[in-house]
Symmetry: D2
Subunit: 311 residues, 4 copies
Amino acid sequence: MNTSPDFQAVLDDIVHTLGPEAGREGQVARYIPALARVDATRFGIALRTCDGREAVAGDGDVPFSIQSISKLFSLTLAMRHMPEAALWARIGREPSGNPFNSLVQLESEQGKPRNPFINAGAIAVADRIVDLYGADARGTLRGFLSHLAGEPVDFDEEVAASEAASGHRNLALAHFMKSFGKLDHPVAEVLDLYFHQCALAMSCRQLARAASYLSRDGAHPDHADERVVTERQTRRINALMLTCGTYDAAGEFAFRIGLPCKSGVGGGIVAVVPDRLTLCVWSPALDATGNSHLGMKALEMFVARTGLSVF
Amino acid sequence: MNTSPDFQAVLDDIVHTLGPEAGREGQVARYIPALARVDATRFGIALRTCDGREAVAGDGDVPFSIQSISKLFSLTLAMRHMPEAALWARIGREPSGNPFNSLVQLESEQGKPRNPFINAGAIAVADRIVDLYGADARGTLRGFLSHLAGEPVDFDEEVAASEAASGHRNLALAHFMKSFGKLDHPVAEVLDLYFHQCALAMSCRQLARAASYLSRDGAHPDHADERVVTERQTRRINALMLTCGTYDAAGEFAFRIGLPCKSGVGGGIVAVVPDRLTLCVWSPALDATGNSHLGMKALEMFVARTGLSVF
Amino acid sequence: MNTSPDFQAVLDDIVHTLGPEAGREGQVARYIPALARVDATRFGIALRTCDGREAVAGDGDVPFSIQSISKLFSLTLAMRHMPEAALWARIGREPSGNPFNSLVQLESEQGKPRNPFINAGAIAVADRIVDLYGADARGTLRGFLSHLAGEPVDFDEEVAASEAASGHRNLALAHFMKSFGKLDHPVAEVLDLYFHQCALAMSCRQLARAASYLSRDGAHPDHADERVVTERQTRRINALMLTCGTYDAAGEFAFRIGLPCKSGVGGGIVAVVPDRLTLCVWSPALDATGNSHLGMKALEMFVARTGLSVF
Amino acid sequence: MNTSPDFQAVLDDIVHTLGPEAGREGQVARYIPALARVDATRFGIALRTCDGREAVAGDGDVPFSIQSISKLFSLTLAMRHMPEAALWARIGREPSGNPFNSLVQLESEQGKPRNPFINAGAIAVADRIVDLYGADARGTLRGFLSHLAGEPVDFDEEVAASEAASGHRNLALAHFMKSFGKLDHPVAEVLDLYFHQCALAMSCRQLARAASYLSRDGAHPDHADERVVTERQTRRINALMLTCGTYDAAGEFAFRIGLPCKSGVGGGIVAVVPDRLTLCVWSPALDATGNSHLGMKALEMFVARTGLSVF
């Protein structure tokens, strides 16, 4: 485990081996047209080591809709700029044990979402970011991602508009939290940020780079002296990813892959090997839990080949 | 039970006996200012026999916010003007067994409310009425109530505006049903009707009169030849009132009172003695189940004095 | 509604009309062999007016396993012999809103069953009867039923033994209540009574007769001067039947039939028309809610023909 | 993080710093007398590195009731001796998101427990061990623990008898699973094993030693050539501990401590630093989640001092 594998060869091998399966199992998210028409045979992978080397294979440079992966970065932004105690007063830290949109636990816990990676929790985080930045919230988040990725990233406005038009469940979640006094800002304003963050378009390479601080004890991907979050916060984010990052399959991911992961219904999954590297895989067809079917297989193969796992 | 009691004397006695307790137990609804400032010591009662005699006591001619009692009339309007099968395809007929605003069962039943008297069910009924009458929905409902009451009744616009301003939970319910494809019309339009129907201001006498068709096999309060709903529909509405009409206390009402009842958080309760009379009592202070504390005691006393009960 | 119909003709007509459908829809209970082998084409009906006239048609004199109908009589026995307040401290009075064996609400309500007609509630009632009669509990209950039916009735020991052998869900319920301190007597002793009461074998005629006090303000079927329960208790039992007597279909029964009913998975249903008559129908094939499919249709037809309904 | 700290000094410091707090917060488990009378001021800690060095401080050599920590070893025994696919067909791998004894999810998932560390899951594992060893199940488990600990360990028969006498909730769980056909062996036999495994008495040192294979890629604590489980299975067990090992506080443990942990209501917690060491801490007073209050603080301090964490 201690000699560095030839990561480019590992990624090439994964794309070579699994690529032909892309789109054969699972289903592309269909709730908005812009996602439904994504080519299900796309398959990309990229990694960045904590000392800055990168490897990319397949469609690893093709931008896709990051969707719930954005929750990782919005949480980081909130942890970076507000007192953690105030943040965690609004949002729990336990796995949900229920489908990712469930209102049940939100009701039994008086509007406090179980964790920042379920939709309700991410909406609560968005409310905190609106609180910090007001009308600049969207721009600040985009700027933060661009700063981490080392190049400009942007919203796909068509996706954002579609999310808003079909977002009745998220409207329900937001109004429900509002009814418990757990959102400070108007639902429309909070959801505008939330729908936009989900609509960020980034490639595997950009995401591996942007998440790199999670494998670098919180240091900026390119500047060891610029701290994105503290070492302790980094550990905490990784822990949250492992216990809550993949909808209702966190136990399965931990069991089969053993790495902190955050997935999105766009088919992307970001994974972290602390002190070693960050990895991002993309394949749009999802399994029944809402996670990329082939993405999960690719991560399993990566762990099997490299022996990298937190356990 | 067969000789007609002196109803005026019974009502006078109830007001005389229980009136001094008004406001001592329970709490006036506080979620909007217009309800919170209602005088908790108000206590009114009125009845109308199926042959048109009326008795009124206490504050029985003072208008109050009918709130959920309106669900009785909106359901009647929908049953009257659309095929029942189409109506019941959208809404269930079982008691909820859960607090009246619960989203839990709505989720497990894919957006189909358990019955037309929980909020979600009444919103689904409102969607049907918008479907029938479009922009005239509000006016049609007000006209229907005026026609039943025999005199004009109107919305309290301050209450309607307050309901809308604080209605996040109902917004959550509506968007949630919308996300399941169970509302056809825009949430804003449906809730505008819903918030207005809850804001109708009527007195006990007006409500006893308006509900009179429920004790007359469906015949209009004043015109035996005008059928509001059929005899069979009348029985069905009474059955729904008995099993679902008083939030999470339907079993308790059936057990202690034994009459079909529909209550509202404004403190009113309408009760029906089929083939005999309708009764309305009003006392604003609510018990923990959201029903008028003194209203329930008044109904118990009425049943004890008159022996009238369906069982 | 006030002239007495020719009840024998009504029952004959129901059997003539519906009899050919017997066993075509629904499924006989299969969880124990003794129930599974019952002939699904059996169809019986019987009634007894409050002044003692009887009418019987089809298999109305064939004994069957009364199953949950026994809960009606065990509740009556407990109400008759212990202070009601003590009884209702252990058992709620609200419809369950959930499948009849659900442990969910039992957990959220700390081991207090929602009502005496769900399994957990009937087990809690059985615990009270063991408390009253100890080793004579079984004999007392059988004696009570025989006294009401006017002739000896007995347990089907094969059914009782099968219930015990396959009763893991009821064992789970009982131990669960025991863990909350809500059963005073040993689980084995309480369930011995419960499994036996479910295994009572009675005919429609016997059940119509035994339940007759419910249409007679509590007076014994044959002796107006012997009160089984008080008039007020009678109303309460009828109310509980209407809101909770038919598993998760109480709303549907109230809506379509409008009479207090208690059903059992043996295919029997007892119905009450207060001040008029009691009725029992039997057809073993059950619908998805666990109620007799044809029994429910027979009751609908009876109400349509006679106009008898509480609403 | 890479030079080995002086572990004895770290443990001594933890005992010195936190020892005075022992018993001040939280409550000793009270559901059986043998646990209720444990001295709440006890505080022990021990570790064993993967190369066999040990450090012990405070009451680290005092045996206590390992309770749910036994679930770790019974799962290991089952994984070692039966095909994993057959095991996981019976038991899930997701965090429960609910209190550890909840019947709710067991009901909604047809008797399949969410994971092997909730009570229902451990009972399902016990059923598998009874299946493998029949009448020798108890002896085999004790022998396995003794073999891992390097010295004989034994059941506290008083505790086992008390567990059995007060075990109504576990009886409910077992009968409930049995009703779904998810236990093959008699409830009494399965629970006899389960109550005994919970009643094993071991010290922190013995537990740190017995769990040592979890930090050694599955190799026996003392014999590198004897594999307890495979390297892959070891990772999986560690992953399950991290996501499911501490009742309803797994997210909190991951967030604050970041190590795979398994706790018991006896006040013990076993933690694993893969490739480094295993650690066991004991303090009988529990917090609201059922985990040792001081034990959790001790683990936090250990992580803070040593920098050891999987993230």
